[in-house]
Symmetry: C3
Subunit: 359 residues, 3 copies
């Protein structure tokens, strides 16, 4: 499928990878994850090179994964280290692909391309997600039946909020507020700002809960930053008009998308708030609200849109372009540029779906 | 898909089109229907030209349909007339396809081809379906998992009744009765007539209910007329042998089929009787009996047949031809001729499935 | 699909074929089976040559099968012998394909290729399955969602037993025992033998039930013989070490596989034991145990493996080869050789899936 390969993607939350094999398909490749006794997480191709059984159905034995068909065992580097049958001989071809996998910043990152290019320094940081940032995170995972690029379109696009999230997140003032697009390293900021407005219902509720009634107009901001391949960080907040933004209510969020197939994606999200940071009970509401907004409002639409596209390429459809699309269009153009550059620069990497046999 | 385009099809019953969007796929094109406040029904391509969301998930606002993603509103001609975001500018490319749609004779008719050729005078009339005809109608809609041509084969074919509808509609006398094929304008009549026979069980029951016992043999007729593209009208009735047909029990019916896809169809039917025309309760039985005969008897067979064909063309299968097939074969040949003529005469119309973006 | 055609396959158990039509797809061809009043079983193409309805939905009338659509009746040779409509004329093209079908040795065998080559002398015999053999059979049928060649790989492969059937059938001594491969006519034996070992749990249980406690080590053997196209016979047994095998506990089994499609198979099995041959109740346990081992253990793995292969050819995947694979690899190579020979030697037979119309 069309997706960058020589770049870090989120593969899993660290808590998902343990001593029970985790099966996940990323960029159409079937991968099995497990954790070694020293804590190192491992990602291997999920297909035994002997008779092609899926390794995730086997079990973890002494830092190896045992094939469920004939009991061959593979270590974290993908080498077969044990064969229980007859003389126990293991041919050199009995190897599965091993993927660079790094646990960093509270996420497990995987490199799907040429392993020799996997530089951990390229992993994107989210400072607000780290302890001591003053922001309390709520996190989640969703499996989404939509291509990752429609998800990115949606996540950098503030203009859909007025309609799709009309009940809790919409702010008519923001729809007609000020839009700014900014480059930031290899990222793109899409910012909207409204002065003297009525805040979205969710922020009105939160302000009244944590700070009490108010009778002045507010400022409201919603800012999304895209980093390649498909990583979004966000600031959304409100403050009484005229006061500095720092004292306002704000969430800093990330929405990290990893392609599964042409029509489905993995979605890792965190909503981090600077208010009621000691309130455990509020976490439950934040999770419920986030899942409601995404699953009930965005995803149903993205799935229907995906079905409408029926495999056709976005630009071939000659989309009508609006002023509110400038950010999303820049992200699409930059993604197209990176994809073309990767295809031009690198010899093909063996990325045959679900094949892991090393000749 | 292979179907005539420059011709009127039934799109919906008038009662189906109101101020809640109706989504329906016709000839593999996704269409959304709604009714304007002046009563005019509207048919638009069901895909927003901005980000390709399906419009039917939106709502009707002041004679426009609002896209569920970004709130663009389209009028009955398919023009975008409102954008709620930022400066509200609307590019000229923000248009969806609008289909000619006419409410006439108790049906909503749509023109799937070149709109400049859409002549309302070409719509087929069914006089027996109009008030004052002396016939009381019962109507219904069925979604059928079979190609429209197998349905037409079935509907002009009396010979299957003996086997498929062996319980209520079969008449052994008719199976060996007289068959007549007649051209009628662009239509084809397939008629069967049996003298001095035992009527089908359903007519026997109806006669006894409405006229009492009888001990003489009867005449029975079953006549189907095809009009292109896939419209069937029917006369079926019984009368005591030797008496004029006019005084008999008769139903005049239509079976109007509109292709949905290669393997599915929309089916609009009416059974109109000249007996017990004031009996509301009988309508329930007529509907139940019609649905039983079609859903339980015909459709299960047509679906299985469709599966057997597995996409192969009918004539390529070298069907064995029987005398009882003459009518159905003439209808197939005439349909083939009209399809070839349309392909030869007209430049291609933009009929890309579910695409409605106008450049 | 890729499968031998000029060879006998098992089509059904004799008890499956009676006067209710049996529908079964073999090598991607839809076939209907029924039994004539003289006891002869019949196999016909399951598609009427008139309007292509599936014949299995019809009924058996006087040694013919009646089409459920228009009532044409076909005899055991596939000739149409009756048309109930109009003048009753039947064109010579109204014929369906008839397949050679032979009931022999307690099985119904079908020939899918050129009928002129169908020599009953080529049918494989299983003497242990015949009455008087001293072995009591338990039989069954399973529909399997895996290609027949993965099933054969599995059935001639003793090395998977240690892992997949770890609970009841595994024997660590056998895993490291002696392996022998032998040619036997057009068949291939794959044998394993372990001396002085602990028997599999199932044999331990059976020995204690039927012969009482024992405190000496045992010998254990497991031998599978493949015959083309996909027929496996097996000997598995135990005996006290040093005593002749004849006095031991043994089952002689067959596992007869017939391709349905690229991804599914029919599986006819028999487990025949030389102990407790008068114990009816034990049959229930044998059936349950066999279905557990195959459905819960083997099939789930084969289905997952099939999905992993995703249509790719086995050798193109460059499988790592182990010493324990020698038998399965010889069977694969011999099957490849027979397939190539058949393709080279014979003109193509009309085997269009589900087509049975004879021009």
């Amino acid at each position: 499928m069309e997706a960058l390969r020589n770049i870090w993607y989120v593969a899993a939350w660290p808590s998902e990878i343990g001593t029970t094999p985790l099966r996940r398909t990323l960029l159409e490749e079937q991968i099995v994850f497990f954790r070694q006794t020293d804590g190192t997480p491992v990602a291997l191709g999920n297909i035994c090179p002997h008779r092609f059984a899926p390794l995730h159905r086997g079990k973890i034995v002494e830092d190896t994964i045992e094939c469920p068909y004939h009991g061959l065992r593979f270590n974290g580097q993908g080498h077969c280290v044990f064969n229980p049958d007859l003389n126990g001989a293991v041919p050199a071809t009995a190897r599965v692909r091993s993927y660079p996998l790094v646990e960093r910043g509270g996420l497990c990152w995987i490199w799907m391309g040429d392993p020799t290019l996997a530089d951990e320094g390229l992993i994107v940081d989210f400072p607000f997600f780290q302890s001591g940032s003053g922001y309390r995170p709520v996190t989640g995972y969703l499996h989404v039946r939509a291509n990752y690029r429609y998800m990115i379109d949606n996540l950098v696009d503030v203009s859909h909020v007025l309609i799709v999230h009309h009940d809790m997140l919409a702010c008519p003032g923001l729809a007609t507020g000020k839009q700014t697009i900014e480059r930031d390293g290899n990222g793109i900021w899409v910012k909207r700002f409204a002065e003297q407005t009525t805040p979205p219902k969710i922020f009105d509720m939160m302000w009244r809960r944590s700070r009490g009634d108010y009778d002045a107009p507010m400022d409201h901001w919603a800012e999304s930053k895209w980093n390649p391949p498909s990583l979004i960080s966000q600031n959304t907040g409100v403050q009484l008009s005229g006061l500095p933004r720092d004292g306002g209510l704000e969430t800093k969020n990330f929405h990290l998308v990893t392609p599964e197939s042409e029509t489905s994606s993995h979605y890792f999200w965190a909503i981090c708030r600077n208010f009621e940071t000691d309130n455990d009970a509020l976490d439950v509401d934040v999770r419920a609200g986030t899942e409601y907004a995404f699953v009930e409002q965005d995803e149903k639409l993205l799935e229907a849109l995906q079905e409408n596209m029926n495999g056709r390429e976005f630009w071939s459809m000659k989309p009508a372009l609006l002023v509110g699309d400038v950010g999303a269009v820049q992200v699409r153009r930059e993604t197209d540029r990176l994809l073309a550059a990767e295809q031009a620069a690198h010899a093909p990497v063996p990325v045959n779906p679900s094949s892991s046999a090393v000749a």
